[in-house]
Structure formats: structure tokens, C-alpha cells
Point group: C2
Chain length 448, copies 2
């Protein structure tokens, strides 16, 4: 199940053929690549940066094993590649610099999320892993932030491992969902590895395994006297709620997982309250997303907590982020060359950049300006967002804890004005290009 993995081969073949190509052509210059999102995905008015921690460990630890090198050497694609290249892979270390948006930062297309500056082979081979990790975690963190926004302060738990794209996806998805504001996850491994609070109730099978629902409820309470949450909808939700009252206020919560949740939650709340179980929470978990949660709350459903799975764990309505990784600058023989792509619909801005976030007097976000990295701030008080995380292949910051990242995201989102955070019909946050960057683009265009 946990196969022997080939970490350095977790990449697209062309990264390694290009590496061989650069090596054999003796191309070793410093290159700067930018990871950015060309357009906002559908249904998203902001994105929450996530996945950097995994990227930094990957860069710190990336090595080619003998077995990996042997696989490449025998592959027909490399048949004309010299043994010096494989010797190079044997000594390979990432020695470059990394700048990035801190995880938890809201950002907007086409802002850069990350820069790599390194000898071009090093900067190239890591592309696939970087994109996969940042695209995925950013998608999930952004979706989670919307779901949490819709829940209006009620806790949201991520429940989606069974619908995630493999258990790696469940693990890193739980992390990203936590960054986006979920209070926890059902995924035990995410608890063990990342310290994320883990939650669970019981499944329908639990109820069905016993001769009667009442027996199933009592059996669970016996083993979990302080944490029992009863699943009510195996047979008849209202009848099950009546049974729950026989067990009393010791029941921490009840879960509804199907049916007309608005009517059912109101009726269940009444039943519980009449039995003096006013502290017993109602948890709902039936095909939820931010739209459905908004409806439920607008209809006055007395729900205390949401369990969100499928829709969150694959970011259903925007299941990927089209982040791309493009060469924007290189230094050859001491000369800086700015680079950009001209392809139809896929043009880029050259050079290494900074994002400046401009604030009003209360600290709310007004607009962003993308400028060149070494430009002056566009206005007084504008905050630069990209920070350096690695220097010469070493992590050069004290990395925040996951809880700190979650707090940072929450604080950021509170400063993003409400019109940009609306679940439907949000306004487009203004992102401007600095005059200097526009001028550089014009100049590079003319010179191409």
C-alpha cells in the first residue's frame, strides 16, 4: 500500500530531458522562474496561498538515488546522454533562492505566488512537484475559506478523505482545509502528522450492526461516555431523535446526514430542547458546500456545526488551479535578460516582481499593485507580500506553525472587504500593474 516511492522521479519526463539538454549544452546560468495563476478559477474571487511548507521540504531534501539514476540511464530517452550528466544527478542539491507568498495570504490572478532563482537545471526539475503541491493545496484552502465564510462562525470540519484523490490528497487536503479555516478533519493521519484536531462520529453501519437503533446508541455511549455524537438518519430521523432523549444531556451531539435538513434540524432541536438537552449540538453533513450552507442558515436551520466532505476535498466547482511556472529572468555572462512568452492567450510579464497590498486607514485592503521586485512602494503604507524563504538552498526563516498560518489567513480575510468575499457575485479585487513593470514589458516586447 505504501509502495516504495521514487521521490526524484515524481516529475514530468520533460523536466529531466531538459535537465540533460541543458547539461549537455553546457548551460548553467542562473534563471528565475515565477509560479503564478493566469486567471481566477471559476467561482473564486480570492485564493488562499497554501502548500509552501511541503515545497520547502521537497527542495531541501531532493536527491537522486542510485536506483532512480539507474532507471533514467536505462531509459531510451536518455540513450545519447553522457555519463557526466548522471554523475551530476548523483551530486544534485537545490542551491537556489525562494521567495513566496506566506501560506494563508489571499491573492488574486495574475499575482506571483512563488519565485525560484537557481542554476537553470535546478530551477527546472522541481517544476512538476511545485505546481502540483501549490495548485492543489491552494485550491482546497480557497474552497475551505468560502465554506467557512458561509458557515458564519459555526465550526466546519473537513470530512472528505474518502472522496479525495488518494490518501496523499486527503492528508494535504486536510492541511489546506485547516489553513482555510476548518476547525479540524476526520483524517487521523493529518492529526498525527500535522497536529490538526480530529473529529468523528459513527457511520450508518454502526447502527445497522445492532439489533435495534437504541441498542446501537447505548453501545456507543458506553465506550465514549463524553464524546458521543449519534447519527440519526439510518432509519427515521425523528424517531432516532426521540431515542436520543432517553439517553439525556450526556449526548454531545446528533448528526443529520440526509433528508430535508431544514425541517429535520428544527424538529430535532425542539425534541432535544424539550428534553432539556439544550447543550446537545446538531451537526449536519449531507452533500454540503458553501451554497447549501448559505441556504440552510438563511432558512433558519438550527445547525451548530458542519461536516463538509466531497465538495471541499476535491474543490468540486473548481477542482484545479491552473498555476503555471514560467521563466521570467536569467543572468547570462553577468547580463540580466528579461524573459516573456508571447503565445496567444498565454503571454506573461517579464522579470521578478513584488506584490504591494495597499490599505485604507483601518487596514482594509484597497487594491494590489504588481511591480518589479526592486521598485519603491507604489504608495505610503503599501505592504510587500512576497518574502524570501530560502537562500542558497537553505531555509532562512522561522517557519510558522500551522495554527499560526490559519490565524494569519483569518486575519487577512477579515481585512478583505466583504464585497470581495461574497459567495455569489463577488466583486473583482483590483490588481494593478506598476508603470515600471508595464514599461519593462513594452521594452522586452520591442526587443524580441
Amino acid at each position: 500500500m505504501i509502495r516504495h516511492r521514487w521521490p526524484a522521479l515524481m516529475t514530468d519526463l520533460y523536466e529531466l530531458t531538459m535537465a540533460a539538454g541543458y547539461f549537455e549544452n553546457e548551460i548553467r546560468h542562473q534563471a528565475t522562474f515565477e509560479l503564478f495563476v493566469r486567471h481566477m478559477p471559476p467561482h473564486r474571487s480570492y485564493l488562499i496561498a497554501a502548500g509552501l511548507a511541503q515545497v520547502l521540504s521537497y527542495l531541501s531534501e531532493l536527491r537522486f538515488t542510485e536506483q532512480e539514476i539507474d532507471f533514467l540511464r536505462r531509459h531510451p530517452a536518455f540513450q545519447h546522454v553522457s555519463s557526466e550528466f548522471f554523475e551530476y544527478l548523483r551530486r544534485f542539491r537545490f542551491t537556489g533562492d525562494v521567495w513566496a507568498l506566506p501560506e494563508g495570504t489571499p491573492f488574486f490572478a495574475p499575482e506571483p505566488v512563488l519565485y525560484i532563482r537557481a542554476p537553470i537545471i535546478e530551477a527546472q526539475v522541481l517544476e512538476t512537484y511545485l505546481l502540483s503541491m501549490i495548485n492543489f493545496q491552494t485550491s482546497i484552502a480557497s474552497k475551505a475559506a468560502r465554506v467557512v465564510e458561509a458557515a458564519q462562525g459555526r465550526p466546519v470540519i473537513e470530512f472528505g478523505a474518502r472522496r479525495a484523490h488518494s490518501m496523499d490528497s486527503a492528508l494535504y487536503g486536510a492541511r489546506a482545509a485547516f489553513i482555510g479555516g476548518c476547525v479540524g478533519t476526520s483524517n487521523v493521519e493529518a492529526g498525527a502528522i500535522f497536529g490538526i484536531p480530529i473529529y468523528g462520529t459513527a457511520a450508518h453501519s454502526w447502527t445497522m450492526a445492532f439489533d435495534s437503533e437504541m441498542e446501537a446508541f447505548r453501545a456507543y455511549l458506553r465506550v465514549f461516555p463524553e464524546t458521543t455524537i449519534l447519527l440519526l438518519d439510518t432509519y427515521d430521523t425523528i424517531a432516532a431523535a426521540e431515542k436520543a432523549t432517553q439517553l439525556g444531556p450526556v449526548i454531545r451531539g446528533v448528526r443529520l446526514d440526509s433528508g430535508d435538513v431544514i425541517t429535520l434540524s428544527k424538529r430535532v432541536r425542539q425534541i432535544l430542547d424539550q428534553a432539556g438537552m439544550t447543550n446537545t449540538k446538531i451537526i449536519v453533513s449531507s452533500d454540503l458546500d458553501e451554497y447549501r450552507i448559505t441556504e440552510l442558515l438563511a432558512a433558519g436551520a438550527p445547525i451548530d456545526m458542519f461536516g463538509v466532505g466531497t465538495q471541499l476535498s476535491v474543490s468540486y466547482d473548481a477542482p484545479t488551479l491552473g498555476g503555471v511556472y514560467k521563466l521570467v529572468e536569467q543572468v547570462v555572462d553577468g547580463q540580466v535578460q528579461y524573459k516573456m512568452k508571447l503565445s496567444a492567450e498565454k503571454a506573461t510579464y517579464p522579470g521578478r516582481k513584488q506584490i504591494w497590498r495597499c490599505l485604507d486607514e483601518d487596514g482594509h485592503y484597497l487594491h494590489d499593485v504588481i511591480g518589479l521586485m526592486d521598485e519603491d512602494p507604489p504608495e505610503e503604507g503599501a505592504v510587500p507580500l512576497l518574502k524570501q524563504y530560502m537562500r542558497n538552498g537553505r531555509i532562512c526563516v522561522q517557519y510558522p506553525t500551522l495554527k499560526e498560518i490559519q490565524e494569519a489567513a483569518r486575519a487577512h480575510l477579515a481585512r478583505l472587504p466583504a464585497p470581495y468575499r461574497k459567495i455569489r457575485g463577488a466583486e473583482t479585487y483590483p490588481v494593478k500593474i506598476s508603470p515600471n513593470l508595464e514599461a519593462l514589458r513594452e521594452r522586452v516586447l520591442r526587443e524580441l
Copy 2:
């Protein structure tokens, strides 16, 4: 990057609390769970079963390490659980039986994909991994089959690692895409682990790293004299095609990745043909899916091969499969109890079943019948689809190779009549419930 993983904790907390609950309540009976898909996902008229190989290795290898047990023992959820339970986990092995659809088999909701029969704790704890692996790989294999169908015999390569939900998702997604009919992947690790053919060209950054496009083309050809595929759209596709002709028929292919691909591919084909490069292939890879490929071919675009990434690797228009895992039968004190759930919209059929595929005289699929496992075939020549894969915790078949699975899927799809395979507006394949199964359901309903 490759963190220390906690395989036995790759699950939802409630699987383990239920396990503790069963243990403490001395519930040890045999239970049979069914994995099935309640409804077809949007835009899908058939599904291709995939992921079973990983499930079988998981079941064979699942163990709880001391470290994992220690994590659980210290977790507040388990504070009232006896030490005997943790002793049980220490000795845990999967000892049950598994029946499943062979990988590569087309199936339809609400058909069962897999049965587990095991002591209830064993059958419960593996739910999350099973669902994740089968839901994911089946989604991707099914999407791939549609893309391959649209390509009308032209090879399709899976290119989507950078958009996959983590590198595990890239790895298993490449496997599933191969089952669904892709000829290969860009993912090197999938080549190393599963022996899937790997393919690659070059990125825009390669072209941009050189002083001129021509220099970039020559440099690549120097290192890869037999396998060079030139990426044409970094600056100007037509100008780049002209440059390719200077290198001659040694160029294996050219890739178009943006712009009006219909017009460009026709023009590029002309340019290549006029230069005598009739064997140089045109590969297209710009935001493709089955709909776009259909359009391109309908417009007569002379494309030889497709590279499909984002849309395939996350199954964009149906990014998850709502497979569920439900208790359908158990044996308590020698008595068989049939189980079903009554929840609104989520009702199930009780008992262990077989799927019978009914064929016409040419072997084409007419319809399926879901009956009880021990029923007679609904008609002469009907083929039973579910097979036993594990007995008493051991794999009891010679598992096919990945290539054999791909072949089986291809052969199956050729026998599924075209109206059920249409990219848009496909007919619904008929799935019937046997009279015996209906009768059992009625009886269980009355008794509940």
C-alpha cells in the same frame, strides 16, 4: 517531502472509534459491506472500474505500528477504551474475503464494485482507504476512456501531474488513465513503478533560455537526435514551424500548445509536408478534453497525438465519484441478517449480489441484471462480473498485468454499443434488479 507516513492512520477517526466500540461491546460477527455508486456522476454514461490492485495490497499489508497505536491510545477520543483493544490492534490482520469487478470493467450505477466479508472491525476500518482509491482511480479511468474515445484511434498521453491533487494522485492517476486507454504518461515515477510508457517534449522555458528559438531547437536535437519534439508556440507558431523545416525529417514531432489549433495545425502540416517532413507528427496539448478533441477532429485538424493534462488528471467535469460503502449482510450466531438503510434518497439494497451482463449473439452488451450472489443467471449466456480476489486475507488469483487490464478495458468498451459511449447525449445503459433481489428488499423492509 516524503514524510514519514502513518499507513494505518490513513483513515477517518470514526472507523477507529467504531472499531473500539465494536471491540468493547464484544461484537465480532462477520459482516459484508458493499462498495457501490448510487448515481452516475454528471456527464458519464459508463464507469471503468480501477484501483483494486492498490486495495488488495493495502488489505494484505495493513498493520498497526507501535507508534500508531501509541498515537491513538493518547488521543482523548480513546480515553475510556481498554488496553485490550490496543492489544487487538497490535495483532490486527485483514482475514476476510474480497469479491470485486476486475479492473477495466465498465459498470453502471447502482452496481456493486466490491464486497468485503470479514469480522466487522476488519471490514470497517478499511473503508476510507478503499473508497478513496476506488473513487479516484475509477473517476480517472472513466474520464480517460471518454478522451480516448474522442481521439478516434489517435494516441492520447496523460500529461497532468502538475494539476493532480498531490504526487500520489499523479501516480495513481497515471495508472488509471492508462487503464482507460491512454498510451502513456509524462509522469516518470509512474514509469518506474508501473512500467507505463513515459513521454515528454520540452517546455517554453527551454526555448526562452536560449538567445534564439533556432538555437534552442538545435540544442535539443543535439542531445535527443532520435526523439526530438519541438514546442512551436513560444513566440510565433508558424515562424517556429518554418524553423523546424531547417532541421528536416529527423524531427519526430512538433507540439502546439496555444492559439487557434485548428488553423495552426493545418498550416503547420502544410509547412512540414512541403519540406518533406510527412512523418513528423503534430501533437496538441492545449486545455484539451473529450469535447475539445471532438471539435478539433470534426474540423479536420491534422493532429496525430494528444497530450491531455488538467481536465483528465482531476476528471474536471466530474471530479469525484460518490462511491459509498454500506453494510448489506451479517451473520450473527449463525443467522444471516440482511441489512439496508432507509434514509431519504440514500436507501440501499440488502444482501450480497452478483452482476450479470447479458449479451447479444455477437457478444455486444444488452443490459445488466443485479441479482443475489447465489441466484441462477437471469438468462442463458449471461456473464457474472464479480470475482473473488481474496480468501481469508490472502489474494487467491493471479493478478493481471496493467497492460492486460488496459486490453480488457478496450475489449469491453468495443462490446458496449456506441449509443452508450457517445460523448454527449449518450443513452442510459439498462440495469435491472432481479425479482429475487426485489423480493428480498420488500421482505427486509417489512421486517424493519
